[in-house]
């Protein structure tokens, strides 16, 4: 892709995965209609799932997954040392994600439940920012491909990266959806940061808060409505804890 007849220098990208399902990096290969254009803007020099090339001079490192083993800690620190910009890609990287549910149990109990007598190393699940400095967080389970493309283009062109401050509830209302809270569900859309296009509530299931809190979330009134609808504290807490993205409010409540 040329701009004013000049081929701009491509920015070098590395994609790395840790404790996760690799669904976020798969999003980079989805959205097929813009994939070729996107690839013309960046030079993918390290992306194990897609390519055998293993370059080390990446400028942007996209990190998928949470951190839950000592070798992951070491690998992440090495990547941090090489990358100019380190991006936490997806809810596991930003908050720990569903993997964090493990932290409620003693480690030897989860190992025994799954592996019986085999010794398997595991650490309490941590988000990437608990291990190294993170320059930018892109939440989502999975991330929205169009949002990632938009952000990477912003990084390449030096534009400011902006996220919505308002909640998913706003995007959901814009789509004229029937409110799933009115349908009797526990929905975290009113307190969760927008940017997903309200994909879950548009599919008539409740938001589980994968993108974390919106700016100044209005927790009290939501919990009041949910209580009035007959939902128990434990059911609400179950959903707030699903991605470990609302740990602050859970701490305050307990």
């Amino acid at each position: 892709m040329k701009y004013l007849g000049i081929q701009p220098q491509k920015i070098k990208i590395g994609v790395f995965d840790f404790t996760c399902c690799e669904g976020c990096q798969l999003q980079l290969a989805n959205k097929e209609d813009s994939l070729i254009d996107f690839l013309s803007l960046v030079e993918v020099i390290n992306f194990r799932e897609v390519s055998s090339a293993r370059g080390q001079d990446y400028e942007i490192a996209l990190i998928e997954g949470s951190i839950s083993r000592s070798d992951e800690v070491e690998r992440l620190k090495k990547i941090r040392a090489k990358a100019k910009v380190l991006v936490a890609l997806g809810t596991c990287a930003c908050y720990g994600g569903v993997n964090s549910l493990k932290n409620k149990y003693p480690l030897d109990d989860v190992v025994k439940t799954v592996y019986g007598g085999l010794k398997v190393e595991t650490l309490p699940v941590r988000r990437v920012s608990e291990v190294v400095k993170v320059d930018l967080e892109i939440p989502g389970c999975p991330v929205s491909k169009s949002e990632v493309e938009h952000i990477v283009v912003s990084l390449v062109t030096g534009d400011q990266v902006k996220f919505p401050k308002y909640p998913v509830c706003v995007e959901c209302k814009q789509k004229l959806n029937t409110c799933v809270v009115d349908l009797g569900q526990i929905c975290l859309g009113p307190i969760t940061r927008a940017g997903c296009g309200a994909v879950c509530t548009t599919g008539k299931t409740s938001c589980l808060g994968c993108r974390g809190p919106a700016e100044a979330p209005n927790y009290g009134p939501l919990f009041e409505v949910l209580h009035d609808n007959g939902h128990t504290d434990s059911a609400i807490r179950e959903r707030l804890g699903f991605y470990n993205a609302f740990s602050e409010v859970l701490k305050n409540e307990s």
Partner: protein, 424 residues
């Protein structure tokens, strides 16, 4: 004959997840050939304990970024069988359509993005956008068709939103189904073009006789639920999946191994093909025939071709499913149900093979015990023993270290392993 060599592939590329290949040959004899999975475990079976059953499909879809619809469907089948929920026919058909979308997208991701670069001697699909733009366009068109089928039915491809206990939370509109039907019809020629291109490329010649396990056909090529079958003649009901898998741990892998009548068995597209060839669409059989692929085929590299054959089959079946749906009112998409205590098993053929979820649910609707057995887990031992035989064969033929390394990498890739999934 080669005297000695070491192959040490750390974090194999173009597969999902982290696995290593170690091979050692000394004095012309194989000392060790090891398929070592080093993926970090996430302990899903432990964290499912105590969870409300209705969250289990959303939680377990996160086991895998590629086959999340398959996990959702296996989870739902386990729950629905435990609680005796009768899913109405319309959502059953729509769920199968979403699954077909996932199979198409996943098979195409593997055939074109992960496997084809080896056959064309490049690192990845990226240089192929310049050297083979027509084939890359086909890849993108087929993969996006599969993804759009999933988006339409499930609300989202990776981590579906609208497949829920009892059926679906939302039905697509008929005009959307008509539009996707047209796109499927328009893409059927892409499969034929792909078959022509692949026939000009040669897959490695390697055979190790093994046992193939899949769902057993009951009138049609099977995808969701039913009896289990193996090419060694074992047939068991779905509920006896443990006797079909016999999982065990090995100290060099965070993913377990499995066995049945022999020291290993295989699941996936080739296993389904080998067990259920008779139930494929005629055109899909013709594609297989053109490659000389006939059951029972024991060349693991032919799994790539079996995936192409299945891609064609699911496209043809999707057209028939949509035609039936267009003749129905698309109402009655979710059955109401009562929470009761019980145990259920759900077996689903996901892109990489047969997947099992098994839950015990208490009278409050919470899961008290969970077990998930992943296709790649079932393939690990087969990959492991294949590697040994492959290296022995190629050493005898006097191949170079580089050639043998590439064949080993291609062998593991042929199984399309989903490693993080297998280390759930």
């Amino acid at each position: 004959m080669k005297v000695s060599m070491n192959i040490d592939v750390h974090h194999l590329t173009r597969v999902e997840g982290h696995g290593n290949i170690h091979v050692k040959v000394a004095d012309g004899k194989l000392v060790e050939a090891k398929w070592e999975v080093v993926e970090t475990p996430r302990f899903f079976e432990a964290i499912l304990r105590g969870k409300p059953h209705e969250l289990a499909p959303f939680l377990t879809s996160r086991i895998c970024g590629i086959c999340s619809i398959g996990h959702t469907l296996a989870s739902l089948r386990a729950i629905e069988r435990a609680m005796h929920v009768e899913v109405p026919p319309t959502p059953q058909q729509l769920r199968l359509l979403a699954k077909h979308g996932e199979t198409l997208a996943s098979h195409c991701l593997h055939i074109f993005f992960l496997a084809a670069p080896d056959l064309l001697n490049v690192d990845s699909v990226i240089p192929l956008t310049q050297s083979h733009p027509a084939i890359v366009n086909i890849a993108l068109r087929l993969k996006s068709l599969g993804n759009d089928m999933c988006d339409l039915i499930a609300g989202r491809t990776t981590h579906p939103v609208s497949i829920v206990v009892g059926g679906l939370s939302k039905a697509p509109e008929k005009k959307q189904l008509q539009a996707i039907r047209q796109r499927i019809q328009d893409c059927l020629g892409d499969i034929e073009t792909t078959a022509k291109v692949f026939k000009t490329l040669s897959l490695p010649d390697f055979v190790r006789e093994t046992e193939f396990v899949s769902l057993k056909a009951d009138g049609s090529y099977p995808w969701i639920g039913g009896d289990l079958i193996s090419t060694d003649g074992v047939v068991k009901p779905e509920d006896e999946y443990l006797a079909m898998t016999n999982e065990y741990t090995v100290d060099f892998s965070t993913s377990k191994h499995a066995k049945l009548s022999r020291n290993s068995f295989a699941v996936g597209a080739l296993a389904r093909f080998n067990n259920n060839y008779a139930f494929l669409y005629k055109q899909a059989k013709e594609t297989a025939d053109a490659f000389g692929l006939v059951p029972v085929n024991h060349n693991p590299y032919m799994n790539n071709i079996a995936q192409l054959v299945e891609s064609q089959h699911v496209m043809l079946e999707s057209i028939d499913i949509i035609d039936e749906l267009l003749d129905s009112p698309l109402t009655d998409i979710r059955a109401p149900y009562k929470v009761v205590a019980g145990e259920g098993v759900g077996a689903v053929e996901v892109p990489r093979g047969i997947l099992y979820h098994n839950y015990i649910i208490d009278d409050k609707g919470a899961i008290t015990k969970a077990n998930c057995i992943i296709p790649t887990t079932q393939n690990n031992a087969n990959i492991h023993y294949d590697l040994a035989d492959l290296v022995k064969q190629e050493v005898k033929l006097g191949r170079t270290d580089g050639e043998i390394t590439k064949l080993c990498e291609m062998l593991v890739r042929a199984y399309d392993p989903c490693i993080s999934c297998s280390v759930h």
